[in-house]
Symmetry: C2
């Protein structure tokens, strides 16, 4: 166990936005939210999955909605804790820990804000090893853990408790409530007994986020190669970078969907996204797709660029990196592979060099 | 106290569809639902408001959604009781009674189905004295009683609990959940302590429904004048009847909205509806509007015609009748008067003969 304070949060939020693959929220807002709570309530213990007792009650906390809206409609600060309190009341049991449901600039820092406010430790893990746009797209679904009972809370003071027949219905009902609440809401779901963390989580994600963030900062300070260092650390490979020449973005059904086109010397990179990057094409040919990670970074600084932050004229680098091995099983691919997002390409692992142009 | 069995339900459902003013659900489906439950579980006690103890916990039960969908997507039977059970769990207290939230062919019989299944008595009352399309449009709102905690349940097994900052937010969040559930859901809301029934309910509504239903049947059997008898009983006045020559209907945002035109010798009657009839015009001039009741009946049989049942070529009679006096206060009119539905006419009480063409 160690403690996370304000200095660690900057690296953690930045690195989380790398694993967020374009989604998971803005790291600047995420950092401010957690910093404020830590300044007020003190540093937050970060504990390893292996050190969580079997009888613990781990309640993940997150923001749900369209990142395009999140950057304009800021959280008030207490609604994530309200969602956790609402779920505790429904369960009739207090939380012993909170955890990040997905890696992302906001969704890896929200648990620290909640933890500071409620006096809880954070488990060093997440439920995806990256970010995905829909709430059934987590490892707990693969091992039969229900998303509900689930709580949603908004900045106005409204809250909702869902009990659904499956995790896709949790997504449907939570999404429509989130849209009604103004396209963003704070959520608490997938109540996890300590005994099931190993199978349901990716251990060490938050430490990895912090490490990635520190790597970017140190390479930049040393006039090194932040993008290359991140690619190497994730075991990934470069995609063609260049200038963002087109971004088509729409906020649809509570999601930020769109396409981006990046022109560079090594080819034209086309990106499709739904909050997160889903598919990358090089000169029209599929080069990487979910569940592997597709990451866009500022070409100079190595700072991660979220899908809502993509702008015409930006100079960016891009990379693809392998996902957690559990996503590559038939069940994993059925949940988050290309077909789950309506893309009809076959999944080719990004680290299967023979099958990929490079 | 008396008991309601299958013979009483037929009259009650028919008369409730009169007070439903075009909405409140189809009386045939409503009757079947309650008959099935009573056949299985036995007759249901109907108690007067005055006989309910102050410490009673009265949980109203109803269907929410678009009547146009309700006639094609039938309830499974147990979901209304599920909604009541979900609210009991949230409140940590069992219901002692249930009651109708609005008069209507379905929404006056749903409480009998719930009561039979759960072994509860029904209170002889409703919360409007008619039907209105939105769930904040009830007398409890006028006296500061919250709609939430509120439960919704669907036929698939999903349930939702809402806690909102006001009753309009309850409507917004419940409506979006209902739309997601397939445009209809069963609900339980406005938990009422026995001590507040007098101020929050219209006593005797269910008995009045039964009386109206019996009146229509007996006048018809005697080759009398069912429409005239209903008009007189409600203290209303006739609107021009005739042939339905145009119906424009759309299911929008979970409501059945539309316009109908009825051509007759006494003039052209134009009706605007949102589940319920909201406004009646004679030759283009406003003749009646909410909160007063606008009722359409089959010209021959006197059977009430719901807005989803309006069809080209039908021969109908129409009438307008006064609402509960509490709706005519400034607060009542702000909640359910013409402006609440975007109609910019002034409210003229339908029984103020001097101001009305007749």
């Amino acid at each position: 166990m160690r403690e996370i304070g304000i200095p660690e949060l900057r690296d953690l939020a930045r690195g989380a936005a790398v694993l967020g693959t374009g989604g998971g929220g803005d790291p600047y807002i995420g950092r401010l939210l957690a910093e404020q709570a830590i300044a007020e309530h003190g540093r937050v213990p970060l504990v390893d999955v292996a050190d969580v007792p079997d009888d613990a009650m781990v309640l993940p906390s997150a923001m749900m909605g369209a990142p395009t809206v999140m950057i304009e409609k800021l959280p008030r600060g207490g609604e994530a804790a309200s969602a956790v309190r609402a779920l505790e009341t429904r369960l009739g049991r207090p939380a012993t820990h909170t955890v990040s449901i997905e890696a992302g600039g906001l969704n890896s820092t929200v648990p620290f804000a909640v933890a500071a406010q409620l006096g809880l430790p954070v488990v060093d893990a997440d439920a995806m090893g990256r970010a995905f746009p829909e709430l059934q797209m987590v490892l707990p679904t693969l091992v039969g853990i229900g998303a509900t009972p689930m709580a949603l809370a908004d900045e106005k003071g409204n809250s909702v408790i869902l009990d659904t027949i499956d995790n896709r219905w949790a997504e449907r009902l939570a999404r429509s409530a989130t849209v009604e609440m103004g396209c963003t809401a704070m959520i608490c779901l997938y109540a996890l007994p300590g005994a099931r963390l190993e199978e349901a989580l990716v251990p060490g994600t938050l430490s990895l986020c912090e490490e990635l963030g520190r790597l970017i900062a140190s390479e930049r300070a040393a006039h090194g190669d932040p993008v290359g260092a991140v690619t190497e650390r994730l075991g990934g490979r470069a995609l063609p970078g260049g200038k963002v020449v087109d971004v088509e973005r729409r906020t649809v059904a509570g999601f930020a969907r769109g396409e981006a086109r990046i022109d560079g010397e090594a080819g034209v990179l086309g990106l499709s996204f739904q909050n997160e990057h889903l598919l990358a094409r090089i000169d029209g040919e599929v080069a990487a797709c979910t569940p592997d990670l597709i990451v866009v970074l500022d070409a100079d600084t190595g700072e991660p660029v979220t899908t809502e932050g993509l702008r015409y004229g930006q100079r960016v680098a891009a990379l693809a990196a392998p996902c957690d091995a559990r996503w590559r099983t038939p069940e994993g691919l059925a949940l988050v592979g290309p077909a789950a997002f309506g893309n009809d390409c076959a999944y080719v692992p990004v680290d299967d060099a023979a099958a990929c142009p490079s």
